[in-house]
């Protein structure tokens, strides 16, 4: 079979190989999206658990706990949600091959993400209940903690991407890493909005 039309085959083989190479990045982005969809089901399960507990438990809030303070978390929320816009601009700069603009906005995103984490740490430290205080304590720390872990992962990924932007020629093959990180960041944001509504708004 391979002996038939050798030169014609070589031709097609060359183009096919080039196409394969170009696709690699897109495969990875596609795979990453599949992964994110799957990951969202974990959050969905936790949300369902939270709703079931909240609507059915008899003693929902631990003794002596009235509810949650909303002000600081709201500020936190605004910062995190706006960082989604900031990261979008960072990506735009990269598209236009303005590396310094990209780095500046990228760094700003990281700062906002870190601020969110700091704010959450402060909130946790000041709360009068712990992980083992009933269903509310359990689900509260489970949800915010699991989400916080994702924010932390996002910031770390951003750090890696920032470092990589200094490697010459890093974006010759496209910006899959940056696109994936930014996608992840939007994902983390959307999850937080749902979480905020469930935990803080619906009291």
């Amino acid at each position: 079979m391979s002996s038939v039309n050798l030169d014609q085959n070589l031709n097609t083989a060359a183009t096919v190989h080039a196409a394969e190479h170009h696709d690699e990045g897109e495969h990875r982005l596609f795979g990453f999206i599949v992964f994110l969809i799957s990951e969202s089901v974990i959050f969905l399960s936790f949300f369902v658990g939270y709703i079931v507990y909240k609507t059915s438990a008899t003693d929902w809030l631990p003794a002596g706990v009235e509810g949650l303070e909303v002000r600081e978390p709201l500020i936190n929320t605004i910062v995190l949600v706006s960082s989604s816009f900031v990261i979008y601009f960072a990506e735009r700069f990269l598209h236009k091959e303005n590396l310094w603009g990209f780095r500046a906005f990228w760094l700003l995103t990281m700062a906002m993400g870190s601020f969110f984490l700091y704010g959450q740490a402060v909130e946790w430290a000041g709360l009068p209940f712990s992980f083992t205080d009933g269903l509310f304590g359990g689900t509260f720390y489970l949800l915010t903690g699991f989400h916080g872990l994702h924010v932390l992962t996002g910031v770390l990924m951003q750090g890696v991407m920032l470092g990589r932007s200094f490697i010459p020629g890093n974006y010759d093959d496209g910006e899959v890493g940056v696109a994936a990180t930014s996608l992840f960041w939007h994902f983390v944001d959307v999850i937080w909005i749902i979480l905020f509504i469930l935990i803080y708004v619906w009291q």
């Binding site: 059915s56 008899t58 003693d59």
Partner: protein, 306 residues
């Protein structure tokens, strides 16, 4: 040609139908002798499912067998079969047939479930609330349900009208039995094969449960939801007797002073602890000691009637 196919199919169905009906009748004998009103309904459903299932099984396997026996490739035949890729009509027909069958089976099962009504009202209750709330909503004429307490690994029954406790369940014949199921530790399951009824018992909830025994005799209650080491030993006898005998029993037993009830798992555990090196095993949750009851009951196994 079409007529011939139809005739052949009709002939096949003519052979398969009696066989299926016969197996469907046979299926009654695979179950323990029915001892509750619910059991009669369930056995009818099972017979129906068996009949239908046999028919489908024979139809498909018969066709396959015919092919395998008579449509084999000849020894040196390297050729291919006819390249038939499909037949839309046929495919639509065999999508439609299961749809119709499913509606039939589901409808019939629904009807049976409705008639059984084995569960008392089980509307969504708030956790924990059910146990705390007194039964104020219940009409006062209704007799209070017999309380079934499950714990690792012993059954205990409490009859509120007479204030009697036992480790053997007594029920009046031909009377709707009303039970309230509770568990103190883990999940257990209330299961009497002769009655064809079963319900998981969930700690922190009280579950109302109903059925109607229709035959006097002794039956076996088995724990049906795995509950740890001595799960298999968590069984008890159920005695169905005439309402008069039942009342008499309640009356007699009420006078007896409490004594330790039957508790095979605790006994077995004691033996194990005493000769520890006998057989290797891992550490287990300690079984609850035998409850003090008015009436322990008989340790004899009921004679199975099939």
């Amino acid at each position: 040609m079409n007529i011939r196919v139809l005739l052949r199919l009709a002939a096949l169905a003519g052979i398969m139908a009696p066989i299926s009906l016969w197996i469907g009748q046979l299926s009654y004998s695979w179950m323990p002798e029915p001892a509750s009103a619910e059991a009669l309904l369930v056995d009818d459903l099972f017979s129906f499912l068996t009949t239908l299932g046999t028919f489908i099984f024979l139809g498909v396997v018969g066709t396959l067998l015919y092919s395998v026996l008579f449509q084999r490739a000849a020894r040196y035949d390297e050729g291919d079969g006819p390249p038939i890729e499909g037949n839309l009509t046929l495919e639509i027909v065999w999508t439609a047939i299961p749809i119709v069958l499913v509606i039939w089976i589901a409808g019939y099962s629904y009807k049976i479930y409705d008639e059984m009504g084995i569960l008392g009202p089980m509307e969504h209750m708030h956790m924990g609330e059910a146990i705390a709330a007194p039964l104020t909503t219940q009409a006062s004429t209704e007799p209070e349900p017999i309380e079934v307490h499950a714990r690792q690994w012993v059954w205990e029954f409490y009859y509120p009208e007479a204030g009697v406790t036992s480790t053997e369940l007594h029920l009046p014949n031909n009377t709707r039995a009303k039970l309230a199921l509770t568990s103190e530790d883990v999940l257990h399951g209330f299961f009497v094969p002769a009655f064809r009824v079963k319900q998981d018992i969930i700690p922190g909830r009280k579950i109302d449960f109903e059925f109607t025994p229709i035959r006097e005799g002794v039956y076996r209650l088995r724990d049906s939801q795995y509950s740890g080491t001595y799960f298999a030993a968590m069984q008890a006898n159920v005695v169905v007797e005439s309402p008069e005998a039942y009342q008499q029993w309640l009356h007699d037993v009420a006078a007896r002073s409490p004594q330790p009830g039957l508790n095979p798992s605790y006994d077995e555990y004691q033996v194990k602890v005493e000769n520890r090196e006998n057989r290797p095993g891992w550490k287990t949750v300690t079984p609850a000691p035998a409850p003090l009851v008015n009436f322990p009951g008989s340790p004899e196994l009921p004679v199975p009637r099939l």
